[in-house]
């Protein structure tokens, strides 16, 4: 990696700007702000039962607590969608008369220290009459099932969102096809599991009555809007600050009921009030994700071309709807993006979200795409097998090659390299060589397998895409404000809210190239509603594309201002000037001026200039793109121990195309982290509820994020296909690793055990599950 020198900076693995302070232990995460603060501490008393009628909450004398009774003036959280097949559901800040999942907050206890708050919380009595819980989609859809909420969807009591679509002429094509292939696949519940749990500090300012909420969030501005809406206070009374955030992956983008309670308590008590979630709470009561089932039937022609696809998708969305993206986020994304990178024309789909008495879902890195890609890729593999062609051949026959390509759901795939990246990966994996090794290993009783997945990753989409979802608010654009000070130092203020993605560095690289200065001269201000323009935050692989595009535009505007002044100073046409190494130069001449001199001039000697439009150097820009698709092919090589069901990943290969790489090291970091989470999904992690609705996996002894020993070496190759849909040429890359890995891993497992008559479709393939499949196949004599 590089850290010094001269530009151009884009395309280089510049070391991240803020790292040294974090490496010294000077990071400021929310718990660090709390540790240094004189404040009260909070513990939430949570429902111990999955479903029930809340009869009473008894707070003993001497304990300061809030219950629903004290929150009568606070509105619940009710995100909506403007579509008839979405049923709005309200989340009370604290449960009032019904509890709907184990871990739901019932009361908030405040005391002088976290330990004392816990002592006090143990004294709070909660009386609940249990009612039968609904703990699975099957349960929820059963006739006569108890309703999780008193809201009715025509037909099924617990279905709260349903999207359907049938392209014209679907039936004819589907019915006439030579071959149909059906697969059912799905994913267990997973947690995004940032290593820093959620936490917040609500600090009340006596003088103004304002509250500053320092909170581990991906979306400071939207959090402010959400809290102020619930509390019915003007936005100016709340400042939201995202300090250093210790990972999020989606779990910190939705409005937390705990945060509303906290701000309310700070206003009541006129004191600073803090809450740091425990890991147990994080697993039981923060957001869950991914519990989805897919049934796909593909109609293929004899050559393996996918003519028509029928899909039934069900997501278990838990007990409430998350703000702002709602519990429609998983099923509706699956509906719209399922066709993936394949040139499909005829599509018939139903996607539903179903309520259960479990923790609510929210987006987690990739959202529906890991499970969706698993389903589609397993369909392709299964069809290939049935048609007697190879997994590579069937993909070659179906991958989109002409751009732009409009999918049956109206998404536009911009220029990408689906075929080429697959070929890169397949070449690098040396498939023929692998088959030889596989055979040799099998003769020694060892089972090796290889599997691939290909996908399109929808990234950097603005209001046009979110508008199509018909959410009650329409996220998408980003604003950037840029100023250069009289010494040529640059400050940019952004509405995005990075937390580990290295955005401050990549934005600085982009701006440094425009302005001819070094990245170290650029400071990025983010994560503070008082000092940044309104923005949507960091999620959905959007920040480098959207915020980066806005930063580029803003920097270009600032450059024009500098050029105008420099042109006058150098007596030439501003358009001719070249920026670099801290100087502005007239090409072909000795004539140049230091940028610092120009910047000083803009503030201190404006009167001497003829042509400028005002003092100072300031520009702003907003960017709201349609969106772009990055793409990749993942290949996993595994070894299966048929006797224990254990899967070891021997090698993992990624051929990625995310457009222009602003900072290759940072891009690779995103891919590796994503792949590890995808492997976790494929093999290790599963949130399990028992028959009463208690979470059986409420510690890291039972919920199993992989360690370095479980993650194989990852090899990454890049292509850089530049499509004209985004300004910087960079496509998003934040989620791809997570999206492609599960399908590649499961496909590799299937390849290893197919001769035993086993094929796998469900995540995670934990050893006991795979072992059971192998045993079953043996007993049935399938091998």
């Amino acid at each position: 990696m590089t850290g010094s020198g001269t530009g151009p900076w884009v395309g280089r693995s510049v070391r991240r700007l803020g790292d040294p302070s974090i490496l010294r232990g000077e990071g400021r995460y929310v718990a660090d702000a709390i540790a240094g603060q004189d404040c009260l501490h909070t513990v939430f008393v949570r429902s111990p039962v999955a479903a029930g009628v809340l009869r009473a909450v008894q707070v003993p004398a001497g304990v300061w607590a809030l219950t629903a009774a004290e929150l009568a003036s606070v509105a619940g959280i009710c995100p909506t969608m403007d579509r008839p097949d979405y049923v709005p559901v309200t989340t009370p800040v604290l449960a009032s008369d019904v509890v709907r999942f184990v871990g739901e907050p019932v009361a908030m206890v405040v005391a002088a220290s976290p330990a004392e708050a816990l002592d006090a919380a143990e004294l709070v009595g909660v009386e609940i009459d249990r009612t039968p819980p609904v703990l699975s989609v099957a349960d929820a859809l059963r006739a006569g099932a108890p309703a999780v909420h008193d809201v009715a969807f025509p037909g099924e009591v617990n279905t709260v969102v349903q999207g359907t679509l049938t392209t014209p002429g679907f039936g004819d094509i589907f019915n006439a096809a030579a071959t149909t292939v059906t697969v059912s696949s799905g994913s267990a519940r997973q947690s995004a599991l940032p290593i820093e749990t959620r936490g917040s500090l609500a600090d009340y300012e006596q003088r103004t009555g304002r509250v500053t909420l320092t909170t581990s969030t991906q979306m400071p501005h939207v959090t402010r809007t959400g809290i102020c809406t619930s509390l019915g206070i003007p936005a100016d009374l709340l400042r939201v600050v995202a300090p250093d955030v210790g990972g999020a992956f989606g779990q910190k983008m939705c409005l937390a009921r705990e945060d509303i309670a906290l701000v309310h308590a700070a206003r009541q008590l006129r004191r600073a009030v803090a809450w740091v979630e425990t890991r147990e709470e994080n697993l039981t009561a923060s957001w869950h994700s991914r519990e989805q089932q897919y049934t796909l039937t593909g109609a293929f022609d004899p050559d393996g071309r996918l003519l028509a696809l029928r899909a039934d998708i069900v997501a278990d969305v838990g007990a409430y709807s998350c703000y702002p993206v709602t519990f429609g986020v998983e099923p509706l994304m699956a509906l719209s993006e399922l066709p993936g990178p394949y040139a499909l024309e005829h599509y018939d789909v139903r996607a539903r979200g179903v309520l259960t008495n479990k923790c609510p879902i929210a987006p987690y890195r990739g959202v529906s795409r890991p499970a969706m890609t698993l389903a589609l890729e397993r369909l392709m593999d299964t069809a290939a097998k049935q048609l007697g062609i190879s997994p590579v051949q069937i993909r070659l026959r179906n991958l989109v090659r002409e751009f732009p390509h409009t999918t049956p759901t109206g998404l536009v795939l911009d220029k990408a390299s689906y075929v080429e990246t697959m070929q890169d990966a397949v070449t690098a994996a040396d498939l023929p060589g692998f088959r030889v090794r596989q055979q040799a290993a099998r003769e020694q009783g060892r089972l090796l397998g290889i599997g691939l997945s290909v996908f399109a990753e929808h990234t950097g989409y603005g209001t046009p895409a979110f508008g199509a979802r018909r959410l009650f608010m329409t996220p998408g654009y980003e604003r950037v404000e840029i100023t250069m000070d009289p010494s040529a130092g640059v400050v940019i203020r952004i509405g995005s809210s990075p937390h580990g993605q290295g955005l401050a560095t990549t934005l600085a690289q982009i701006i440094a190239d425009e302005l001819g200065i070094a990245p170290e001269q650029i400071r990025v201000v983010h994560g503070d509603t008082d000092s940044t323009p309104f923005g949507w935050g960091t999620f959905a692989s959007r920040s480098l594309v959207i915020c980066g595009g806005a930063a580029l535009m803003a920097a270009r505007r600032l450059r024009q201002q500098l050029a105008a002044i420099a042109g006058e100073l150098l007596d030439c046409d501003p358009w001719d000037l070249v920026f670099g190494d801290g100087r502005i130069t007239r090409p072909g001449t000795e004539s140049e001026v230091a940028i610092g001199h120009v910047a000083g001039f803009a503030y201190l000697n404006m009167n001497k200039l003829k042509s400028t439009s005002g003092s100072g150097l300031y520009a702003e820009a907003e960017y709201d793109p349609r969106g772009t698709f990055s793409n990749a092919c993942h290949i996993a090589e595994v070894e299966v121990d048929p006797e224990t069901g254990e899967v070891k990943i021997l090698r993992f290969l990624v051929a990625e195309d995310a457009g222009r790489l602003i900072n290759p090291a940072i891009a690779d970091g995103q891919i590796c982290g994503g792949v590890a989470q995808g492997i976790a999904n494929a093999l290790y992690e599963e949130l399990v509820y028992d028959e009463d609705g208690n979470l059986s996996t409420a510690s890291l002894m039972d919920y199993l994020p992989p360690t370095s020993a479980e993650i194989p070496p990852i090899t990454i190759m890049h292509r850089e296909t530049i499509s004209d849909t985004e300004l910087t040429g960079a496509k998003g890359i934040g989620e791809g690793g997570t999206i492609g890995a599960p399908a590649a891993v499961l496909s590799a497992i299937s390849d290893a055990v197919t001769h035993l008559g086993v094929d796998v479709f469900q995540m995670p393939q934990s050893p006991h599950r795979l072992h059971a499949s192998i045993q079953e196949a043996k007993q049935e004599g399938r091998a």
Binding site: L118, P706, A709, E710, S766, P767, H771
Partner: protein, 284 residues
């Protein structure tokens, strides 16, 4: 995740520790390395009124070698045993079991005595103690007594220790050079508690098995010796046939618990696979 309040008594000697335990009674607990007790207290699953910290008792740390046996002090750290210089098959067994207890930062603190007293049925040291018919030395104000491993582990997380008793040492027989030993376990991730753990120690002379010891962890409410396997191994040639028969017999004889990491049947199959592998891999 903060413990309920408790009193803290750092003991300066064994005598002081047992006096404190006697005085404080039922509500008190010994604190050794804290690697099992403190997580449980952080979850408030354990809430002792007082902790008697024996961490400062240097005399309880370390291995004393005697002619026929060794004595492992209760405060001997996992890491000490992972690196022990005890010679022969017993040393191999200790090093390879030690290396599988949790991770380095757990092994620097956690103790042999703490593991044994905690009595997790999947714990390496509990399995090893049962495998070798260890003898526990236990002290209280009433004096010192010894308890055989077979009587020590009574059920899950429960031992024959009375609340006022301190485990001071565990005596393990030396294994002569004829012994072949192996530790094989199956866990989901590096460092996790085993779903099933298997330890074997077999005396093999001229290719024939004499004394055969097989102990299983994670398959019952305590570590269990597989008498079925042992009797099928003793007197047999050390080879595939005997190994397979013993493995199958051991599996048939257990009725393991089921949990989210596997059904009873899965654990039973693991017993057979892991025991066969352990027997195949036995080494001095």
């Amino acid at each position: 995740m903060k413990p309920a309040p408790f009193d803290y008594i750092p003991a300066a000697s064994v005598a002081e520790a047992v006096a404190a335990l006697a005085e404080l009674g039922d509500g008190s607990k010994v604190l050794a390395g804290g690697q099992s007790l403190l997580p449980m207290m952080n979850f408030r699953l354990a809430r002792p009124d007082a902790l008697v910290d024996i961490g400062g008792l240097g005399e309880l740390r370390g291995v004393q070698a005697r002619e026929r046996f060794i004595e492992v002090g209760a405060l001997t750290r996992h890491l000490d045993l992972e690196r022990t210089g005890v010679p022969g098959p017993l040393g191999s067994l200790l090093r390879s079991a030690g290396a599988q207890v949790g991770h380095l930062p757990i092994r620097t603190r956690g103790t042999f005595g703490g593991s044994v007293a905690h009595a997790d049925p999947a714990s390496e040291w509990c399995v090893l103690a049962a495998l070798l018919d260890a003898t526990m030395t236990v002290t209280s104000l009433a004096g010192t007594r010894t308890v055989a491993a077979a009587d020590f582990f009574t059920t899950i997380f429960t031992t024959a220790l009375e609340p006022d008793e301190l485990l001071t040492a565990v005596t393990l027989p030396r294994l002569d050079e004829s012994y072949r030993v192996a530790v094989v376990e199956f866990a989901r991730r590096a460092g996790d508690f085993a779903i099933v753990a298997v330890m074997v120690a077999c005396s093999v002379r001229n290719g024939v098995i004499g004394d055969a010891r097989v102990c299983l962890g994670g398959v019952a409410d305590r570590p269990v010796r597989s008498l079925a396997a042992e009797s099928l191994l003793a007197g047999q040639p050390a080879g595939a046939a005997a190994f397979r028969a013993a493995a199958d017999a051991a599996a048939a004889a257990v009725s393991p618990p089921a949990d989210i990491h596997g059904s009873a049947g899965y654990r039973r199959d693991l017993v057979s696979v892991l025991l066969r592998r352990a027997l195949e891999r036995m080494a001095p």
